[in-house]
């Protein structure tokens, strides 16, 4: 009897331990840059085939589109960037030691957005977005985690 109880307790422990462990990475999908409009930072909104069974197409497109818009904002040739340039010139670029550039500010915003998306949408689906700046703004990496929901429990 005690053995049985012990086995039950032990299996419960290991089961909960398995829950706590991070899921295993199955594969990675790379969303490429979209160069059709030139060298501006823009990612392809085409839904990758690997994600078809994992998430909603609309959601994915929305995420990528938002990212594209943010990058467009960062690279916008407007009054803001011009003023920044002038100020930098006048101070012999020493302003860069104390001030953050416009692009960097938007990058921070993007990082926050990606974090938010991961927490709210992608992690529950077993996916993880990686900030493209880590890859030199060449690809958006989406990590697909192993789905152990089938057959577990």
């Amino acid at each position: 009897m005690e053995d049985v109880l012990f086995n039950l307790w032990f299996s419960r422990q290991t089961h909960s331990l398995q829950d706590l462990r991070q899921a295993a990475v199955t594969s990675k999908v790379f969303v490429q840059r979209d160069y059709t409009s030139g060298t501006i930072c823009k990612f392809q909104t085409k839904f990758p085939a690997e994600l078809e069974s994992r998430m909603d197409k609309q959601q994915f497109e929305e995420t990528i589109q938002t990212l594209n818009n943010l990058y467009a904002e960062a690279e916008k040739l407007g009054g803001r960037s011009y003023l920044e340039g002038c100020l930098a010139c006048l101070t012999a670029y020493t302003i860069f030691l104390c001030m953050e550039t416009h692009y960097e500010k938007v990058l921070k915003k993007i990082a926050k957005y990606i974090q938010e998306q991961n927490e709210k949408i992608y992690a529950p689906l077993g996916l993880l977005l990686t900030d493209p700046i880590e890859r030199g703004l060449r690809v958006v990496e989406i990590t697909i985690f192993e789905d152990r929901s089938i057959g577990s429990r």
Binding site: T39, Q44, A92, G126
Partner: protein, 645 residues
Amino acid sequence: MPVGLSVDGALGYPSPSRPFRPSRYVPVSAATTLLVGTTTLFLCFTCPWLSERFSSSIPLYNVVIFLFTLANFCMATFMDPGIFPRAEEDEDKEDDFRAPLYKTVEVRGIQVRMKWCSTCRFYRPPRCSHCSVCDNCVEEFDHHCPWVNNCIGRRNYRYFFLFLLSLTTHIMDVFGFSLLYILHHTKQLDQVDSVVTMAVMCVSGLFFVPVVGLTGFHIFLVARGRTTNEQVTGKFRGGVNPFTHGCLKNIAYVLCGSQAPRYLGRLRKPHSVQVQPPFLRPPLSEAQLEAKVLDNGIQQSKSSLEIMESQSTDADPPPPPKPEHRYPGLPHTQNEECSLLTEAPATPSLYKYRPAYSSPGKNHTASTHSSKMSRGNSMTESPSVPVTTGQPSYRSDPSLSSRGGAGCRGGGEGGRAGSGGLGGASAFGGRSYPSFTDTLLQSAAASCSSSLRSAHTAHNALGPLISEGTTSTSYKSLANQTRNGSLSYESLLTPSESPEFESAAHDTAPGAPPILGYTSPFLSAQQREGSLQACPAPLRPSPNRAFLRPTSSPPSRAPPLSPRARSLGSPPPGPAPGHTPLGKSLSYGGGVELQHRPSRSGGGTSMPNSTIKQNVANHNTHSHKPAGGVKKVTGVGGTTYGISV
């Protein structure tokens, strides 16, 4: 956040083990010494008199200009030009053998080639180039400037340009004011001040001409929206620059654009999000359920199912899918290169070499489908994988490779051979793809491997090879055009086997002149040259060389090969399940050079590059006809661009 100040390599990652070369620092030291030294002398010896005689604002003005010049010089020297970090291993799961050297992408209607960088392990974005001095890929690479000992790229081009402008101004000022001093001291030229001022004048006068020349050149480049690299390689000489936005906008972009971020040396935040099962799943749609039912145990995506159905109604049979050369254990992920090419917009210039297909769209879906199919097949065709391992990827040609690689960088040549060898006979409509292609690939792989391995089986192998005409030549072109340079000759047959192969060619096609092209993959360079001398007969026109009509022979780089290339271009006797004649001609025209190219890890632009470009130009110019809506624009010494109309 401070700007990305980093001495090249200082942050360690991109090129951590470069040997210390003091000679690299000579020009920059000289430039710094000259600039600072000359200006200091000027300020100390000439300016006191000027401030007394005229106004004290003169030295002040000169100091301001000098500081501005120095600031821009420092920024140009120390700022990260836009170095791309090396791609990590998981971005590039494909075997190097199979991956095409080039990928084509459409930029504002113009086809631009992206080359694989073997050092940095990714396909270089447009306008990116690998600097051999710094051993890094730099975004919007302009040039490597020895005077600042740094690459000039996207991030620091503005500072470089402003440095040139301010230096020109500064030199003019210094020279002008020194001249003024001398003209007022013609009677006191033996004084120290005068001597020093004359020396300053000489130095500034000496450097005035080259600096002004360089400044003028860069003003021209900025106005035209080109980089130095693009200008000197003649990329847009005959054509359209897809990166220009008009003169004013180009200037605005350079001077007023926001400072681009650096990619190196960024703190990588670890993901704070925990990803744990159970995971949510989106509800399956009707079509997805259908797809699952049709599944023969092989993964098929919904979109590929649709493509299958549309293909079955096509008049022209699509090519059999290329086998995806994946390790059997790996899942079918879409890696970096695949996802680029599965994008919907078809690039018309890619399809002009496939006469069987009337529309680029169909072709694209065909290849996409085939690639998807092959991805699905990879699990079942694992036995054939070792067979094809030693053989280079078929997708050698830049534009065609991207077409072929729609979704798959990794198609093995077994599938290619199969498509070439049996493409004409393939009838995909309505049949179950997996089994068909499986047998196809197996047989093709078998035929290819046998042809490579033993001469006596060359008869059998050559049968299908000759009739379809792609396989053997494709091997050669594959070898040359894949990312892995080491494949160029090692994987090819030894010379001893080639004579047998040639005779086999004679035997199997009696009455027909020997097909030199078929011998080429199996010969070393010397053998090939020898065989060319020995067998100058024109190649029998093969259906698969349909669109090779070089209007001009390939450049003098490979004179012995030109007759072959020309004969390649003879018109086909009939419709062909067109296959990469481009690849073949590339292999002929620039065969020798092509092999060497991949082995170079990619320093900037070089002559062999232009070999390929020239060859591309050759058949690009003439093969433009079939596909409607593509205007071919060729640079004289550089790449060609196809503008989709």
